[in-house]
Symmetry: C2
């Protein structure tokens, strides 16, 4: 369960994914308590899958910072609650109207639209309940800072703002700069927050926190560029969600704006920048190096 | 602007409502920064009206606790952000499908469904951004406690949970106990949190915090009983929202379950209990006494 440097990356990743699944199962309200249908739907949306990229980043950054695994469990769950809430709302008929997510019917299909709305709402609240939990950090000041980082990354000047720009962009031509602005918010902000939360959970100095934050910014954009490449090249069965939907929805992507080859080159550049940022941490950053490689080369 | 005990209640209320409006205008992101349409819609939903019951309670409780008005400004805004997000989502077509709120077209009518969804999402996040703001409290531990109170009151075991039970109750017969359970969550939890946040912003001891919390619980339920009475007896123009919609939607209310007279008696009982709870605070609680009277006798 614990992550020793000697563990190979695939095993480490599997152990963190399992650990996150267990923590979520423990920290989500049980489906047996009222309102039971809402709690059941929250668990349906959150448990049983997902790559858990944000938890992986939080645990890997926490390793550099010497953070306790139990503290990261809670932060990782908060990050996943925010991420999953955004997926549930994004899949709704008034947004992307998607029926498949992680290989399962989306929440509004499996339950109904009103339940999906409330599931997203309640998962967002749960994230802030978790991060403001009494005694999570020894240093309350630092815990407040983590809560503020999560809130800023999630709101109208972060993830939700990116969604709004995404929405406004459908059927419109975007420049590469505008696309980058959108992605830095929509996907990048929460990925960046994942690295920052893991880092804050330990005792790094501000200069090191800033260095990791720059890494987080690079990896956030990298993740989205790779996502765009995959949406254009992989099939639905491999993705576990509807493939080619960006093109079908006339959504601008890196592939549609700069082309497939240039998008691949951009991914390489971002990965190099991310790796170089980690160099001063030496071996302590090996998990973050591994995750960078994983994001570049993931088949789905 | 400041609230001296000598100020009569109507003037005090007006000054707090004005103060809250100004604080919201200042703390909401300006409509001039990206994403502009989202920020514009967030301001449309939040500014220009509302009784500001939760801010009134937070300021009145803060007065007992000796809290600074500036600190309560931020907490009051956080409370209103949560309250307004719940209204915006509740009005959406997949929920109550309402077109009028505070005398204006609802957000999904004025903008569109997707924007209404994101407005609610981003207002919720903003609430937690505000409450976790660096330096809001001198005592970080106490600030975390305030953030946790707000989160618990808003989530699946609070307000959002009440919404879910409300949803499940449409067209079903509820017992009075079930109705009470629903209302304690749906409306009561956030009203109770408003009192608690105001109280936490000062330096009250735990016994006094608990006493005020009991008051908050009474007043939360009282507010909903009066709301049900008004929905059954007032007209749309007076309410500024669609009247009689609970009956039209076959939603159980206190009036439909125990009848109008018994609902009025219940309101009196709850008001008495609330007033008695405040007695030990003496004159320091005069604003909370006034608010209790206002809630019982408000014409809209």
């Amino acid at each position: 369960m614990t992550a020793t440097p000697a563990t190979r990356f695939p095993e480490w990743m599997a152990s963190i994914q399992r650990r996150t699944e267990e923590a979520l199962a423990r920290l989500l309200p049980p489906a047996s308590i009222a309102p039971t249908r809402l709690h059941d739907a929250m668990r349906y949306a959150t448990l049983g899958g997902g790559k858990r990229v944000r938890p992986l980043l939080a645990f890997a950054a926490g390793e550099i910072a010497g953070a306790s695994l139990e503290r990261i469990d809670t932060l990782a769950c908060a990050l996943e609650c925010i991420h999953v809430y955004s997926l549930v709302h994004d899949d709704m008929p008034c947004m992307d109207d998607d029926v498949l997510r992680r290989g399962k019917p989306t929440v509004h299909v499996q339950y109904d639209d009103a339940t999906a709305l409330l599931v997203g709402d309640a998962l967002q609240t749960l994230a802030f309940e978790l991060v403001s939990q009494r005694g999570l950090f020894d240093d309350a000041q630092r815990q407040l800072r983590a809560a503020a980082v999560l809130a800023k990354a999630s709101g109208s000047r972060g993830m939700a703002g990116g969604q709004a720009i995404d929405l406004a962009s459908v059927g419109h031509a975007l420049s590469r700069e505008e696309l980058e602005f959108m992605h830095i918010h929509k996907t990048g902000a929460l990925i960046r927050a994942a690295v920052q939360l893991g880092a804050l959970a330990g005792d790094l100095a501000d200069a090191e926190l800033e260095r990791l934050d720059h890494f987080g910014k690079c990896i956030g954009l990298l993740f989205q560029v790779v996502d765009d490449i995959l949406d254009a090249t992989a099939d639905t069965a491999t993705l576990g969600k509807t493939a080619g939907k960006d093109a079908a929805n006339e959504k601008p992507t890196y592939v549609s704006i700069i082309g497939l080859n240039a998008a691949r080159e951009l991914a390489d550049e971002l990965a190099t920048e991310a790796r170089n940022t980690l160099t001063p941490f030496g071996n302590a950053a090996s998990r973050l190096q591994d995750i960078t490689q994983y994001i570049v080369s993931r088949p789905f």
